[in-house]
Every structure is written in structure tokens, then in C-alpha cells.
């Protein structure tokens, strides 16, 4: 069966797998095997376990929708991250998110400083006078 994971940045994953286990915090777990009935589900915070032969890949998903039809699984996710096990993937995603928020805060300070400086420079150039 084919699995496509899409995030706002584009396609994250697009490959053929044996089966998919969908796990979500509020719903519990279920697996989609070949020729599963068409299904629509939502994932608040959870993960997908992609099994391909002996390989197992985990994709952590935050706020996602899942649709399965004709052996094609579409996962639409606000944020998703691939990892070798669910803990490390989740950790990584959380770390990335935390870092992002931290960076936002830092940039807020830098921005305000830089803008003040720019305004001063414009004033000094007497750009408004002819």
C-alpha cells in the first residue's frame, strides 16, 4: 500500500509500505493493512508506525487528518517528523518546537533594538529634507 504524508512545507514521505499503525493520544491505536475499508480519521497528537519488511519507521504527527482509500493512505499533518522510534521522533519534534519558540523570543528583542537603530540612522541622513 502507498503512504503519503503531507505537511505545509510539502511532501514529507511518499513510499510503499506493508502496513501502517495509527496511534493517537485520544483515540488509541488501529492498523491499516492492504485492502482495508476506506477510512477517515483524525490525529491530535500521535504517531504513525510504518512497517516495510523488517524496517520500522515512526512519524510523529501533530494535528493531522488521515484518509485511506484504494490502498493509498493520505496523511495531512500540521507538523510531522520522521524518526527511528517514537520516543526519539517525539523528542526531536518537541525540541525543534521549543527551540523555535525560544528563537522567536530572542528575535523579538533583537528586532526592537535593530529597528531603533535604523530609525536613528534615517534621521541622521536627513532623508526627509531636500
Amino acid at each position: 500500500m502507498h503512504l503519503i504524508v503531507v505537511t505545509p512545507e510539502g511532501e514529507l514521505y511518499n513510499e510503499t509500505v506493508d502496513y501502517v499503525v495509527v496511534s493517537s493520544k485520544s483515540l488509541g491505536e488501529f492498523a491499516i493493512l492492504d485492502d482495508h475499508a476506506p477510512v477517515i480519521s483524525a490525529i491530535d497528537v500521535g504517531y504513525l508506525k510504518l512497517v516495510k519488511g523488517k524496517e520500522q519507521i515512526f512519524t510523529v504527527v501533530i494535528n493531522g487528518a488521515l484518509e485511506h482509500r484504494d490502498n493509498v493512505v493520505h496523511v495531512l499533518a500540521q507538523e510531522a517528523h520522521v524518526g527511528l522510534n517514537k520516543e526519539s521522533a517525539m523528542e526531536h519534534l518537541n525540541a525543534v518546537r521549543k527551540e523555535r519558540l525560544e528563537e522567536n523570543r530572542r528575535r523579538t528583542m533583537d528586532f526592537l533594538k535593530a529597528e531603533r537603530e535604523l530609525k536613528k540612522n534615517i534621521k541622521e541622513a536627513e532623508a526627509s529634507k531636500r
Partner: protein
Amino acid sequence: MKSMRKIKKRMNATEKTSQITKAMEMVSASKLKKAERAIKSFRPLTEKLSMVLSRVLESDRELSHPILEAREVYKTVYILVASDRGLAGPFNNKVFKAFDQHIQKEHENKEEYEVVALGFKAFDFAKRKGHTLLHDNIIPMRDDVQFIDFQNIADRFIQGYLSGKFDKIVVFYNHFVNTLTQEVKHQTLIPLEDNPFLENKEEEEATYRSIYYYEPSASNVLNQLLPMYAVHVLYGMILESKASEHASRMTAMKNATENAEELLKDLNLFYNRARQNAITIELTDIIGGAEAVK
């Protein structure tokens, strides 16, 4: 007439400024391309999501959700999508002006609405005008904006809507028409007016309507997906606003560069005149001195 030194100093400053504006123009041009690409890559996701939602809603016409139903409005949330930085021509002010006019027309006092300000400029504006803000921190609108940047606040107003604290959520943003034109639009984000999901029913789709089953239930899926869809729509608007910002800044910086060049031309003229003046004075001095010696 100003002294030569002063004119020279100003010429240098203008020259430097024009270099900066020129660089900013080029940076904005490349960022605009990036923003346009982001819009393009984002669109399929929204389409797919709205398709999934319409499948769910078509499966059972009885299904409903507060987000789909308009109710009497007591309290409105306005989301202002602006930018972090200025120097983008009328980009930010256009949004604020449209918002001001709307407020004056629709509301009598400040109790009737709350504001969500996305971007430094919007935050400044809301603070200056004394609007009630839904959040205390500045929400930055970075060029590489991501869901997580505004996830917190989005959860907050959606929860507020679902719990009945707010009855309507409206977004003010710059709609990107093309590089030269951007227009301010205000659009109701929640409730989703006249249910966009039930319109696209094609015959071929009808066969799929009943065969889906939902994990765990259709209404549960709906509860999860509708807020997500609303946030997606907001994200789409933010992306458009980003593209508008870059386009607007590009045009503004282009004008600024042209003006600086014109100014430089004038200043050069002044400078030459001042220089000639100084030479004449020097010459008269020398001649006067020589005459006196005779």
C-alpha cells in the same frame, strides 16, 4: 548656502541609504518568490483537507458543529495580520485603516471585541489605540512563518469560540493580487459561512460517500478537523499577507532608491556650486592681496 563639508556628508549618507534600499529591494524580490512558492505548496494541503471534510459532512447531513453555524454576535475577535518590520510602503497602515473604519462602523464600545495582533507592527498599533488584546506577548510574523508561531493563540480563540466566549472571528489581511496590487480584505474565519464543504458534490464522488467509515466516529473526526481547517485557512491568509508584504516592500524600496538617486543629482549640483563659490572667494582674496602689495 551650506558649507561644502556639510553637503558632502549628506551626499555620503544619501548614497549609503540608497545602497541599503537597493539591497532591500533585491532581498524582497527573492523573498517574494519564496513566499509565492510557499503559497503554491500549501494550497494542495488545504484542498485535500476540505475534501476530507466534505466527505465527512456528506456522509451524514445531520452532522453539525458550532464552527459551521452562525449565531448571534455579542463578542467578536479581530485578527490583524501585519508584519514585523516597517519600510513596506502602505502595507501595514492599510490594514490598520481598514480595521479602524470597520470598528467605527460596527462597534460602539471596546467591550464588544478583542484583538489578536500578528506581527510587531500590529501589536504596536493595538497597544497604541488601546484595544483589548487577547494575548500579552508579541506574536512575531517571521518570513518563514510556521504553525507553531501562532498555534497557542489559535487554540485560544478557537476554544473561546467553542465555549461561547466569542461569537465570531474575523481576519484583516492583505490579499495578494499581484506584485503591484495588494488589497486589504476582511474575512470571517469562524463560523464558516454558508458551509463551503457541501458545494462540490460531483456524481462520481457520490459513490464514496457512504462507504467510508470513521475512526472513532464521524462527529469526533469533525470535532478534530474543523478547528484544524480554520487554522489552515488562517495560515493561508498569513502566507498571502507575507507575499503582499514583500511585494509592497519591493515597490517601496524601488521608489526610495529612485528618489535617492534624484536627490544625489541635486546635491551634486549644490556641491559643485559651493566648490566654485569657494574658489571664487579664494581668487578674489589672492587678487585683493596682490593689489594691496603694489
